[in-house]
């Protein structure tokens, strides 16, 4: 089982996410900003591809193709000497972790993929059994933050940045981080508290429990496209519950959830004839802000659909 004490802070292969890149690039710049502040040794590669997670859960990609692409990305990490695969997206996390488990335990999968590599003349991609460990080499960025929560808190005090007290913050943990390989998550998967703990270390007033805390965001991969009404019903249910709990800022750890809440909150407001006094951030954006990052040049809040300007002014951040 994963132990918080054993989370590494070096050899981090920061695994880029498709939806971070094209929807909320500020999550990536915020993550590297915080990593730099914390002295974390990480690497970002321009050779790494997407994990295919969206395609996999669109029912387009099969497990073998997804696993082959993962094996290639593991080789990219290996080549650069950074073997702790650490995504910003929960689906990247789960997809890569499962691919690694399959490559280690299923001889047929491994030899099939390795022979494809050989035939294509890509011998340097060949995956050696157990060259990565599906538990010890896979982390989500939020776990790294959690392992450094105390340091973040101290640093924030030192920098004397924003006072979050009185801001009602809540967390939406991403399903694919804590429900798929639930034995390897940190904490109790029926009441995840990673984001809450990090936010508290930054002095936020955290609403740890609210109704439907573990309900999915509603994006459901193809659901928001193919089954739009159903998708929005789920998001609406959760937004209602957050309203009931008086939450003002919802923190995320997955770009897909953030799209669903931030992009579609105005749509839901229009379609359901309601109004939410709620803004959204990724936990990396929140921590970066807490450590003095520029809301535009680092956090990239200008890419959000629910404007943060008013909120930022209220907590004393000049935009």
């Amino acid at each position: 089982m994963k132990q918080i004490e054993n989370i590494p802070d070096s050899g981090i292969f920061l695994f880029k996410s498709c939806m971070v890149s094209v929807e909320y690039p500020g999550i990536e710049s915020s993550t590297t900003y915080v990593f730099d502040k914390l002295g974390i040794d990480y690497f970002v590669s321009d050779e790494q591809s997407c994990c295919t997670g969206l395609g996999y859960y669109f029912d387009l990609f099969d497990q073998m193709s997804t696993t082959a692409i993962a094996a290639r990305n593991f080789a990219v990490a290996r080549k650069n000497g950074y073997n702790n695969i650490t995504p910003m997206c929960s689906t990247c996390y789960a997809i890569n972790k499962k691919a690694c488990a399959l490559l280690n335990s299923n001889d047929e999968v491994r030899s099939n993929i390795n022979s494809v590599f050989k035939q294509a003349g890509l011998d340097d991609l060949i995956y050696e059994q157990n060259s990565l460990d599906e538990v010890d080499n896979f982390y989500h960025v939020v776990e790294l933050f959690l392992s450094k929560a105390k340091q973040i808190g101290k640093l924030k005090l030192k920098l004397n940045t924003i006072d979050f007290s009185g801001v009602r913050v809540a967390a939406h943990h991403a399903c694919h981080y804590y429900k798929i390989q639930s034995d390897d998550m940190i904490g109790n998967p029926n009441h995840p508290l990673l984001i809450d703990t990090i936010a508290k270390s930054c002095g936020a007033d955290v609403v740890e429990w609210y109704e439907d805390k573990t309900l999915t965001c509603g994006a459901g991969f193809s659901q928001i496209h193919v089954n739009r009404d159903l998708s929005l019903k789920v998001t609406h249910a959760k937004l209602e519950s957050l309203k009931e709990a008086g939450v003002e800022l919802l923190l995320h750890m997955c770009p897909n959830c953030q799209i669903q809440y931030d992009r579609y909150q105005p749509v839901i407001e229009k379609e359901y004839g309601t109004k939410y006094d709620l803004v959204h951030m990724n936990i990396a954006q929140f921590v970066a802000l807490a450590l003095g990052a520029d809301p535009v040049k680092v956090c990239g809040f200008q890419t959000h659909s629910v404007p943060l300007d008013e909120f930022l002014v209220r907590i004393g951040v000049s935009v």
């Binding site: 321009d46 387009l60 990609f61 497990q63 309900l215 509603g218 193809s222 496209h225």
Partner: protein, 217 residues
């Protein structure tokens, strides 16, 4: 109805077995320890399920039908309501996973040409991935999103490159050499064959394919 296509891939996600439960257990999509045979029909999955809350989808009865080897379950429209949120997987006291089972059922449906209308709109994803090595929201949905998300989003998307460079970030796509590798891998593994066949099936609106993958009119 003839059983399908690109066997090099479907044998892994939907291996042909005597029973549906065996196919589920042997599929690469499901965990090795999946407890389908031990299902208690306790309903923890259904009561935890966001799709069941709003539709007639019932993961418990889906599992029951798989256990009873009721092949018609793959034609049940309700399986397309699953969010893949894995709450059933988390809450199941028997280590069973309705959401993984549904993934296998959907792959079986697709092999038979069922539900391709839901799939074909997403094909753009595979194309973009194989071209750039990154994922992309399928073009067919961008229009709906533009309508939904309005001008603020459209402007941001138009300025994506400059926003990224202001944030100190480089190109989105994988660099050229990498893209070649990705295409070679996907070709070698049989992904394109399968994708092409699915496109072909979707286009001809045919439900049946013979052993060679030829559409039966």
């Amino acid at each position: 109805m003839t059983y399908v296509i690109s066997e090099t891939l479907s044998e892994y996600d939907t291996p042909i077995c005597d029973t549906l439960a065996e196919t589920v257990k042997k599929s690469l999509r499901t965990s090795d320890t999946i407890g389908i045979d031990r299902c208690l029909q306790c309903g923890a999955c259904t009561s935890s399920c966001p799709a069941a809350r709003f539709t007639d989808y019932n993961p418990r009865t889906i599992v029951k039908r798989v256990m009873e080897n009721d092949i018609s379950v793959i034609e049940d429209e309700s399986i397309w309501n699953c969010f893949y949120c894995y709450t059933c997987h988390l809450r199941c006291p028997r280590n069973n996973s309705p959401t993984q089972i549904v993934q296998v059922l959907k792959q079986m449906a697709i092999n038979k040409g069922i539900g391709l209308n839901k799939l074909e709109v997403l094909f753009g994803y595979g194309d973009a991935f194989s071209e750039f090595g990154v994922s992309k929201i399928p073009d067919l949905y961008v229009g709906q999103m533009e309508d939904d998300l309005g001008i603020r989003w459209r402007e941001f998307k138009n300025n994506l490159d400059s926003v990224r460079s202001e944030l100190g970030l480089g190109a989105v796509a994988v660099k050229d050499s990498g893209r070649g590798e990705i295409r070679a891998i996907l070709a070698g593994i049989g992904f394109f064959d399968r994708q092409d066949l699915l496109k072909h099936m979707a286009k001809s609106k045919s439900n049946t394919v013979d052993e060679k993958g030829e559409i039966i009119k």
